[in-house]
């Protein structure tokens, strides 16, 4: 065993020789940024070995380090094996930080009619002349108080065992909690005395990156607390595929535990803010993508990532929270959104519920861009969906100076024509450390408008400007000079980064077009594009159109629904009828497997152009680009 000491916190961990620094850090509970899942591809897990012996192939990963960084002992945590006791410094930028998480759901006026209710009943004790059993007495009481018909309520054994003592101990004054579950009504809890005002529920957006929890008072119908944090599974790989591979190698237990831990942390934090007892949370509604929810439920997703990509379960699931380890009332119910396929999960069903496209006559296009992207096209009569990997580029991964939406990320940028000097703003207004997704979209649009790049994304190195140069393998554009940054080196975007971004945007656009072709409609028939997800909320709609991320329709017809997953979860939590139609929505959506769609590759190639090879699909952009080209001459 070797001892690794992590600075600056002096956290120590014992680990077998030959393990990687990444293994050690994860065991020490340090969340290292591993975009590529520990394959040595992303260069985000830079750490500095301060003393001790390691083995690391510098030459192979040369492109990730400056000379200065190398001199200070920089290496990639995932590719460095431990030979002796070590002291390792982990810079702040390598750790996953609290990030800008989209909490706000959409304001929706939804009728308040939750699936779980409490009934306070004062019962007459049994006598020789009124010898009906405890349970009947209790259920009749609940029925008389406005609850469901006594015969229709199911009572689990665990609750039944408690009934006689509670009724007698409380002098026959007690509060029963009744939940509407798929099988019917269920008495999930019985408490002494009147606790009917203490009934809460949590709506959870279980994202692969972030988790958002809304805590509702299910008596008054008000939100009492909101909390969010990142999904701790990130330490096992950034994208879903990396995590499923992690589960294959190391088992599902850790990922399941990390998912519940992440949800619990958010629930606890929201409960503390609201000043409530977690025991009073009786219902947790979770909307998440299919793999996330499978992992949460401890169902092995290993078979889902290989052809023919079938999920284990599609329908909505209800289980007792206690069985999953969610910290709330152990008899409470965990409701998990239904899914359409492996790749169209409950989060998308929640998006649909949130934007209401399933009830509208006109055709909408819903796009959810996160670590992966999902697209749904349709109206109240029909819906098509598909999903794909946009690659992490749009979220700042696999881009040299790409980063998550953390403090210091450039989130907005414009470039002055002529001087090519950028004007940017960063999250929290501190010195720039990198660029996040919304900044990258802006950057791409600005670079094409100022003719720094051509329509295939190649940088015109013929432009005489110090910001355009070739260093290393690729031509690059300098966004910020070392002196103005918070990281001490020039922040640039390379031609390779631009290429990655174009490939990402091309897959999103090609997916939209594939669905449109499937439905036999053109962009002109789409009345609204809904953007869901954190990414959609922060991006500039016009720039997203300029680069051809989405089909061109009027800017004013693009609506950000914000965090649709949590909005949908909220709706399902507080309105039982809306929850009931979820399975119907999920069943009605046709899933198009892009891999099996021969035209997809063609659409993709024609989308790998700014904005698109078929310029007639982007008349507004074409006019704009023509005008900035003329302006330049």
């Amino acid at each position: 065993m070797r001892t690794v000491t992590f600075l600056p916190g002096y956290r120590k961990i014992e680990i077998p020789r030959g393990s990687t620094i990444l293994d050690a850090a994860q065991r020490a509970g340090l969340n290292i940024n591993v975009v590529c899942g520990g394959l040595g591809k992303c260069g985000k897990c830079i750490v500095y070995v301060q003393s001790g012996k390691t083995s690391f192939d510098y030459q192979k990963y040369e492109q990730f380090f400056t000379r200065d960084e190398r001199a200070r002992g920089a290496c990639l945590a995932c590719e460095t094996t431990i030979e002796s006791d070590l002291q390792v410094f982990i810079p702040e930028s390598t750790l996953i930080q609290e990030q800008k998480i989209l909490i706000d759901g959409q304001e929706t006026a939804i009728e308040f009619h939750p699936s779980v209710r409490k009934y306070y009943v004062e019962l007459q004790p049994p006598t020789l002349s009124d010898p009906s059993p405890d349970l009947s007495r209790l259920l009749w009481g609940i029925q008389k108080d406005g609850g469901p018909v006594a015969e229709k309520m199911y009572v689990p054994l665990e609750v039944l065992r408690e009934i006689p003592a509670i009724l007698r101990h409380s002098d026959w004054k007690s509060t029963g909690t009744v939940a509407l579950v798929p099988g019917g009504y269920r008495l999930v809890d019985l408490q002494e005395n009147d606790t009917s005002k203490r009934l809460y529920g949590a709506a959870v957006d279980l994202g692969s990156t972030t988790i958002v929890v809304y805590l509702w008072d299910l008596v008054s119908g008000k939100v009492v607390g909101v909390a969010s944090n990142y999904n701790r599974q990130i330490s096992c790989g950034e994208d879903i595929l990396a995590r499923v591979n992690f589960a294959r190698k190391n088992g599902l237990v850790k990922l399941q535990a990390l998912a519940t831990e992440s949800i619990n942390a958010a629930i606890t934090s929201a409960s503390n803010t609201a000043g409530i007892d977690r025991e009073d949370i009786y219902e947790v509604v979770v909307a998440g993508n299919t793999i996330m929810t499978h992992m949460l439920l401890g169902i092995d997703p290993a078979y889902m990532i290989a052809e023919p990509y079938v999920p284990v379960v599609r329908r909505a699931l209800s289980v007792a929270t206690g069985r999953i380890g969610i910290s709330c009332n152990p008899n409470g119910g965990l409701y998990v959104f239904p899914a359409v396929s492996d790749f169209i999960g409950g989060d998308i069903i929640a998006d649909i519920l949130a934007c209401g496209m399933n009830e509208k006559e006109e055709i909408s296009l819903l796009i959810d861009i996160g670590t992966n992207f999902e697209v749904v096209l349709g109206n109240s009569e029909w819906m098509f969906s598909c999903a794909g990997a946009a690659g992490p580029a749009l979220e700042g991964g696999e881009v040299l100076f790409g980063m998550r939406a953390n403090p210091g990320a450039i989130e907005k940028i414009t470039i002055e024509p002529g001087t090519l000097n950028p004007v940017y703003s960063t999250i929290n207004g501190i010195k720039p450390r990198g660029i996040c997704g919304s900044g990258l979209i802006d950057l791409l649009a600005e670079l094409i408008c100022t003719c720094v790049i051509d329509r295939t994304g190649r940088i015109n190195t013929g432009i005489p400007n110090p910001r355009i140069r070739t260093s290393g393998h690729f031509p690059e554009y300098v966004i910020a000079w070392a002196a103005e940054t918070g990281i001490g080196k020039d922040i640039v975007i390379t031609e390779n980064d631009v290429k990655n971004l174009i490939m990402s945007k091309a897959s999103v656009h090609a997916a939209c077009v594939t669905l449109m072709n499937q439905a036999g409609i053109t962009r002109k028939e789409i009345s609204i594009i809904y953007f869901s997800g954190a990414f959609g909320n922060y991006i500039n709609k016009k720039n997203a159109t300029i680069i051809g991320l989405i089909p061109e329709i009027g800017i004013e017809q693009i609506i950000n629904i914000g965090n649709g997953a949590v909005t949908g979860a909220n709706i399902a939590l507080i309105n039982r009828r809306k929850r009931k139609i979820l399975d119907d929505i999920a069943c009605r959506i046709a899933y198009i497997e892009l891999n099996a769609e021969s035209s997809f590759m063609d659409e993709y190639t024609s989308s790998t152009f700014l904005p698109h090879t078929d310029l007639t699909l982007f008349p507004m952009v074409q006019k704009l680009l023509d005008s900035c080209r003329i302006a330049k001459e």
Binding site: D454, R455, T456, R458, N460, G462, D602, T605, S606, T608, F609, T613, L615, R629
Partner: protein, 318 residues
């Protein structure tokens, strides 16, 4: 024929002028107007519809050229002026395509020699020329400017622009009024993208010839064929960004296994058949210029084209 040979299409292939005669301000004895088609090849029965042009490929440094061709051509292969002259007067080509293979040596820097080579070829043949420049982005600009300058006024066809490197060749073509070969890797979308890129930096549509990249028969030609078909269909349906003439050069034909390993006695025959069949298929897909390297392929193709034009079934060149 009892059907509409235009299939209701509305597009016309843009006419590109290659070579300049005295009246055009050059020194060529002939100039060609390629393109102009409104339907698929060999369907138009108007007397002025022309058969595809046959270009004979030569180079200024034959050390990596096919030994089959070097043996057949003999000493001429070492003097591109002489070689070009034979292409014209002996082999009967319509055009000469000169590959400046000398630029492909390591650290090539003798740019001035290229001007002399182009001059020599221009003076030894009066056919229009196609010039293939370097393979090295670093010297592209100098090479193309030198060639462009040497052939100023001759309306040459310069090759080869690709999506990754098109600026320097486009600059030379625009400065000296030559046309450009735009090559993309067997994909209709990529072909269109490159044409848009060229157009956007100022190359007009009537100065672009598409090279869809031609794999040789048995080695991917079917992909090239299908890409060419799609390019042509899009053009005829009205996509102006794809409505350019097509040039095909199946340069791998003479190095495929079947040719390389053929019995010496029949190696020439096999090589010629391979080149002929590939070239004929490319013409059937719509190519306006077919490039060949074996002199014996030229008469075979010519005969096949004239048979096709006359509506006769080709007899495989025999």
């Amino acid at each position: 024929m009892g059907f509409d040979v235009q299939f209701g299409w509305s597009g016309t292939i843009t006419v590109v002028m290659l070579g300049a005669t005295k009246t055009d301000g050059g020194t060529r004895r002939i100039s060609y107007r390629i393109g102009g088609g409104k339907t698929l090849p060999f369907l138009e029965k108007t007397p002025d519809s022309s058969a595809p042009l046959i270009a004979f490929e030569i180079c200024d440094d034959p050390q990596n050229w096919s030994p089959i061709v070097r043996n057949y051509c003999g000493d001429k292969a070492n003097d591109c002026g002489e070689w070009a002259k034979s292409a014209d007067s002996v082999y009967g080509a319509d055009m000469v395509r000169l590959y400046l293979t000398s630029t492909r040596q390591r650290n090539f820097s003798d740019i001035a020699s290229l001007g002399k080579t182009v001059d020599a070829v221009l003076s030894s043949t009066s056919l229009p020329l196609i010039i293939e420049g370097s393979n090295e982005p670093k010297i592209d600009s100098d090479v193309f400017l030198k060639c462009g300058e040497a052939g100023e006024g001759e309306r040459m066809l310069l090759g080869t622009a690709e999506a990754g490197r098109y600026r320097s060749i486009a600059a030379a073509a625009m400065a000296y009024n030559h046309a450009v070969i735009a090559q993309s890797p067997i994909d209709v979308n990529l072909a269109k993208q490159l044409n848009i890129l060229l157009k956007e930096i100022g190359v007009s549509r009537d100065h672009i010839v598409i090279d869809p990249y031609t794999g040789s028969l048995g080695y991917g030609f079917e992909y090239s064929y299908s890409a060419m078909e799609r390019i042509r269909f899009s053009a005829l349906k009205g996509d102006a960004d794809l409505a350019m003439p097509i040039i095909c050069s199946a340069i791998d034909s003479l190095t495929v296994k079947e040719v390389r390993e053929a019995e010496p006695a029949i190696q020439d025959d096999i090589a010629v058949q391979w080149e002929f069949t590939t070239g004929l298929a490319a013409a059937a897909a719509g190519a306006e210029i077919i490039c060949v390297r074996h002199p014996r392929t030229i008469p075979l193709l010519r005969k096949a084209f004239s048979n096709l034009k006359a509506g006769k079934v080709s007899d495989g060149g025999q």
